[in-house]
């Protein structure tokens, strides 16, 4: 499967760049934690509100960080004309999509672990229902990364990239925010059974956009 091994090469390249430049670790991660902190400032931490809304705040922080991660992922490609080099290499668009989206998934999952610990600590939430939290996080992250990557290439090379990506990504991922928040809510309140339909929704979402990305990425890389 050259598509998969090429995708691995692209993902490996992106992760190596992140490991060396430490933008995700040094900028996007602190930003995510900062968002959690700011929510606590905005909502009175003394009240019982924070633990109740913690799942939603967590996923908003993840979404905002994801927008930054997508922007970063495509800034890397447009810095020294690397996008043209990638096109010239003859690598398949589907591989580029899977590789870049895969790298974003891994980055976001790492970020979510830290943010989750932050949420538990800062918002005084008890950890429960990990068997629901983990599949929810994986499915939601795949959906976010897939849509982000598709819109990232749509806006790559445009001067308005930084402002356009959030406007495009955030409305599309509204169902992810909704589903992941509900599933987390159910997991944390102990009613894990209610969470599974939401997890299924997240899986469907991820499947739709991963497929869309695989099919459409070649055209977007070439002609948009």
């Amino acid at each position: 499967m050259t598509i998969l091994s090429d995708a691995l090469a692209v993902a490996g390249k992106d992760l190596r760049i992140e490991a060396r430049s430490r933008v995700t670790l040094g900028q996007i991660l602190p930003f995510g934690v900062l968002v959690l902190l700011l929510f606590a400032f905005a909502l009175d931490p003394q009240s019982r509100l924070l633990p109740n809304v913690a799942p939603g705040l967590f996923w908003i922080a993840v979404l905002l960080a994801a927008v930054l991660a997508v922007s970063r992922s495509f800034a890397v490609e447009s810095e020294h004309g690397a996008r043209d080099a990638l096109r010239l290499s003859g690598i398949d668009g589907a591989s580029v999509f899977l590789g870049k989206a895969g790298a974003i998934v891994l980055e976001l999952l790492a970020l979510e672990v830290v943010l989750l610990i932050g949420t538990f600590g800062l918002y005084n939430v008890n950890v429960r229902g990990l068997e629901v939290l983990i599949p929810t996080a994986v499915a939601a992250t795949c959906g976010i990364a897939a849509t982000g990557t598709v819109y990232g290439i749509l806006a790559a090379g445009l001067r308005v990239r930084e402002t356009l990506v959030p406007l495009l990504v955030l409305p599309v991922t509204a169902p992810v925010l909704l589903g992941a928040t509900r599933a987390f809510d159910d997991a944390l309140t102990g009613s894990t059974g209610d969470a599974w339909p939401w997890v299924q929704l997240l899986v469907v979402f991820a499947a739709v956009y991963v497929t869309a990305g695989i099919v459409a990425f070649e055209s977007l890389l070439e002609e948009a």
């Binding site: 849509t147 409305p171 599309v172 509204a174 169902p175 909704l178 739709v208 002609e223």
Partner: protein
């Protein structure tokens, strides 16, 4: 069709749209009775006159969905190699623009209706919420259309974006309605947006409204495509002139033989 007869058709379409919309307004404001009658409104069992807003709200909502459907269809036709033609992209753009306008109207009219009936400008009703997400989805789409590049680049970018947005509509709708039924706040949602149709004049007015807005949409989308096509044609002609100018400028210079 000749340009002459096309313009006659268009004028007729515009006139029909104007008459139908006018008739809907007259029917909705002056002919149909208040919902449940005046007594029912006072007793709180009917919506009184506020429901007259639904004669605009429902057709707007229908039009919003129709417009986005047309955008998706036109985008698909552009992507399909055998039907690929730039006018599909223009149609997709024109229709999305009207869709956003009608979505905005739907939201505003829904709010205006919600204030007297629900007691608040906004309720997290499934349809209202879905429509709000749609509004921003297609706002992003329109922003993407304006970023420049060649017509083909724009068409490729926006047609894929349109299909991605369209695929999201059922997912959004499903998740939102699920969310609202699971976490309903009770009293606020007692008043449904549906009209209790006790009167054939209500039914007729609603149908007329939907038809009138559809004709209006058809008229506006045709004219919008026309405008985009004229603008595209002008840009194209400028480009052809620029090519000719480059050829002429280069040809005028002496072509010295180059030898090494």
């Amino acid at each position: 069709m000749s340009a002459q007869s096309r313009s006659v058709w268009q004028t007729a379409l515009g006139a029909v749209a104007a008459l139908a919309v006018g008739a809907t307004v007259v029917m909705a404001l002056f002919v149909v009775p208040a919902d449940g009658g005046r007594d029912a409104f006072v007793r709180g069992t009917g919506q009184g006159d506020a429901y007259r807003l639904l004669f605009l709200h429902v057709p707007s909502a229908w039009l919003a969905y129709l417009a986005f459907g047309v955008t998706a269809l036109a985008s698909l036709l552009w992507l399909f190699p055998r039907t690929r033609a730039l006018h599909w992209d223009l149609l997709a753009g024109a229709s999305a623009e009207l869709g956003v306008i009608f979505t905005g109207l739907t939201l505003a009219l829904g709010s205006l209706w919600g204030k007297p009936i629900w007691g608040q400008w906004w309720a997290w009703d499934a349809r209202l919420t879905t429509t709000a997400v749609l509004f921003f989805l297609y706002l992003g789409y329109l922003a993407l259309r304006r970023v420049g590049g060649s017509p083909e680049q724009r068409a490729m970018r926006s047609s894929i974006a349109a299909l991605i947005a369209f695929a999201d509509v059922p997912i959004v709708h499903f998740s939102v309605s699920w969310w609202t039924t699971l976490h309903q706040d009770g009293s606020v949602f007692n008043a449904k947006m549906q009209i209790h149709i006790q009167d054939t004049s209500m039914q007729a007015t609603l149908l007329l409204g939907v038809a009138a807005f559809t004709v209006l949409y058809a008229y506006l989308v045709l004219r919008r495509v026309q405008l985009l096509a004229v603008e595209e044609g002008l840009a194209e002609r400028e480009l052809e002139a620029a090519i000719a100018q480059r050829v002429a400028a280069a040809g005028a210079r002496p072509r010295e033989a180059v030898s090494i």
